[in-house]
Symmetry: C4
Subunit: 268 residues, 4 copies
Amino acid sequence: MPELRRRLAKELDPMLRDKTGLSRTNRFICALILASLLMTILRTEITIYAGREDLFLIVDLVLTGLLAIEYGLRVWVCTENPAYRSRLAFVLTPSALIDLLAVLLILFSPIGNQGFLLRLARLARILRLAKLGRFSLAFHSVTQAVGRRAYELWLSLAFSATLLLVSSAFLYLIEGGIQPEAFGSIPRAMWWSVATLTTVGYGDVYPVTAAGRLFGALTAIIGIGLIAMPTGILASAFSEAFQERCRHNTAGTDDPMHPPAEQSRTTE
Amino acid sequence: MPELRRRLAKELDPMLRDKTGLSRTNRFICALILASLLMTILRTEITIYAGREDLFLIVDLVLTGLLAIEYGLRVWVCTENPAYRSRLAFVLTPSALIDLLAVLLILFSPIGNQGFLLRLARLARILRLAKLGRFSLAFHSVTQAVGRRAYELWLSLAFSATLLLVSSAFLYLIEGGIQPEAFGSIPRAMWWSVATLTTVGYGDVYPVTAAGRLFGALTAIIGIGLIAMPTGILASAFSEAFQERCRHNTAGTDDPMHPPAEQSRTTE
Amino acid sequence: MPELRRRLAKELDPMLRDKTGLSRTNRFICALILASLLMTILRTEITIYAGREDLFLIVDLVLTGLLAIEYGLRVWVCTENPAYRSRLAFVLTPSALIDLLAVLLILFSPIGNQGFLLRLARLARILRLAKLGRFSLAFHSVTQAVGRRAYELWLSLAFSATLLLVSSAFLYLIEGGIQPEAFGSIPRAMWWSVATLTTVGYGDVYPVTAAGRLFGALTAIIGIGLIAMPTGILASAFSEAFQERCRHNTAGTDDPMHPPAEQSRTTE
Amino acid sequence: MPELRRRLAKELDPMLRDKTGLSRTNRFICALILASLLMTILRTEITIYAGREDLFLIVDLVLTGLLAIEYGLRVWVCTENPAYRSRLAFVLTPSALIDLLAVLLILFSPIGNQGFLLRLARLARILRLAKLGRFSLAFHSVTQAVGRRAYELWLSLAFSATLLLVSSAFLYLIEGGIQPEAFGSIPRAMWWSVATLTTVGYGDVYPVTAAGRLFGALTAIIGIGLIAMPTGILASAFSEAFQERCRHNTAGTDDPMHPPAEQSRTTE
């Protein structure tokens, strides 16, 4: 029994696994979660769901049952990992709580059909995706690169926010009287301004006067800079992060034959 | 009294502060300015403002009162900073003038309701955001990176302007007769051209003939290059700026454990 | 005869050619394929095709005939290349099979006019473009740079997919009741979400409520980050790839006078 | 007289000027050309032109007169520059021919009002902008960076073209029967495809079926990659170009106090 638990723990807990990557069991769990997520998404579409209620119910129950078993097994084997002092400590970790919540909420899903509780449950099931992140420590390298330049990225966001305010205020002053529905207030003008600065440009609202178009064009052109700035910051962050990877690497190194020669030299 | 003034000066004037970052008082001032800005924005939206005129008036007066007190205190303590030769020298600095203007204009705000003066006052309050920049010298590093490549960025703007002219002229020649409202003159065609080159694409105007669409497609494709160019220039500027940061750094260094080893070596 | 075959093989098989670049024969073949592709595209447009059926048929037959001859010659000379153990081995390579299929399918093209088989044939002819890739090993350098950062690019795709799900779910909850046609289910809301996150913004569907617009604006702003992330990753990948080019270069080196001095030094 | 010619040549011919930048005379010429261009643009807009025909005519004649004098002076002083073997050699250079053409065509402008010849003349005047490029050798550095990666940029264009074809073909197959006006042929579907891949997204045409939207969403997502690729290539090109600037610099060095230490070291 302890032997079985130890082997199961290695299968279920990525931290105890010797090799990198996901174990077969965890790959299966991932597939289950994605399938469950897909079911939740498809169920909202009435043209797919209508007439297949029973099929959806059965698949949902099977998936939830399997995930409930997985949850139980994880609680059982968690004592193998010295990181958790007790079973309760494991159960109270955020990811374990999300798992429990997702399994519990599924019970209300067939009952309160189309209700608010159900919708929240669906959202919770979507949030379960966050669980997948736990399987891999590798996104650390990307988030670290972003984190290193967090200050500059916030600054470029602040520039964007300022520009958003200024362009909204101008359009409100220029076109507020002509198109009250679209530009009648600064918050309304902001909807146009966001669509323009992000270059989405739905085209539901747009300036119609010469002055409005002149300012709108200026906004669109400056918007390019607001896209270029975070992109440039991130590009330089990634360049730096990948050059330093070998030192702090937590992610899997994908080019082990290129040791960072100039770095090891400087530390001599 | 001089002791109080010295301590207050350290709280209010970021240049006299020993530590980096904002003092508690200045953080509170920032919150006040942002709240005042939010009030100005929300007040323009009739569905929010209607029925809450008194609430807006009270909040506005309280905020303005606090900012007026802050202005007064700053004038009082400015003599502590050797950068200002006299009280008058401080009062005439642009940022102090903006502060004064913003405080003064609020008085006209409840009177000339929906008037032009009021609108300008609102804009002035928006401009007050610029004051926040003064609290931090740190955006220097980003603006320096942009400044270093100012020449190349202007050049890529000139390329864009040329392309804007050429594509507008072509669309005017091709579709001017068919869609006179949209392409009947080069300035009109420019509205479409800006929307296309910046990839905003409102869709209020677009070519309809085969030739117009062919040229429009070409414009859209070249537009990608016009976005890629400043982005690439900025990316390389940031890469360079961050590598040199430790030498000229005016911004707060966020990774002090990585001294720029190869640079110190070259200066030996 | 063997002498002719050897010379023809050097003309037709880019692997046997001594010099870099395409031989004259292969450049001609490329032109034929592009012409054939252009014919296929133009033929679908009724305003171009109508009244020119015979012209299209003749050009199609001539092009197919020439490509059939090319196919035959390639089968004949393939024994010169030691990479293929037998004629059958060559015939069964994917690119040779595509060539054969394209030549064969053309026969059904004039018969089953506007039929499904014909459409597939057209698609097959489009797929033939893939054949051009075989002529050059040079895109290796770009694909290698992309391949090096494949992991990070997949991760940024996973972030995008998560954001896509979350924003679709929110908009479904907020606007599902008001605009059932556009946001009545998560799959429907996804259409809006993709258009917004990629900044395409068709404008056929967009949020209309204040909450929907607030969340839509947030989605658009985060969408900028999702564009900036892969761009930054690719920029750093290309920087690295081009620096290392001289070592692993399979593509044509375009700046041979700049040897990677610091790399040769580290290997001493 | 030769003394006057020599001094005038230094003013008019940027190649003979000792200092960098434009001479006062050439700055004035630039202003004249831009003014002439602005006149051409504004004249096409009937709401601006109507009632001001005389004003436009006078300004046009004055501008053209001044540019004609400039042309004459340039022909006179060109012998000072050893680059031109004779006056005729100078007159036959492309930029001198454009100047002459622009001056000559202005004569037809007031006559054939709104005629085709006039429109071409306007376009010629727009082309005159190219003349400005001659004043500065500095855009060399940007074009060189682009030129270095020309091969990779063409490759990314080829990828884009392939994707354009494939997505157009798919949408034609899926939605050709439902929306014949928008997707009834591959060339028609291309208009949608370009708008989507470049993320312009006018919204005049878009898929309406589930399959069409699925493929459209896929196209939009892949389109992000097509924007990221050239941006990344250009970013790495600029990084490299700016690092090498001090060696091959033809453009004005804007940071002369940072000699490329590591490069001078490797050449020892």
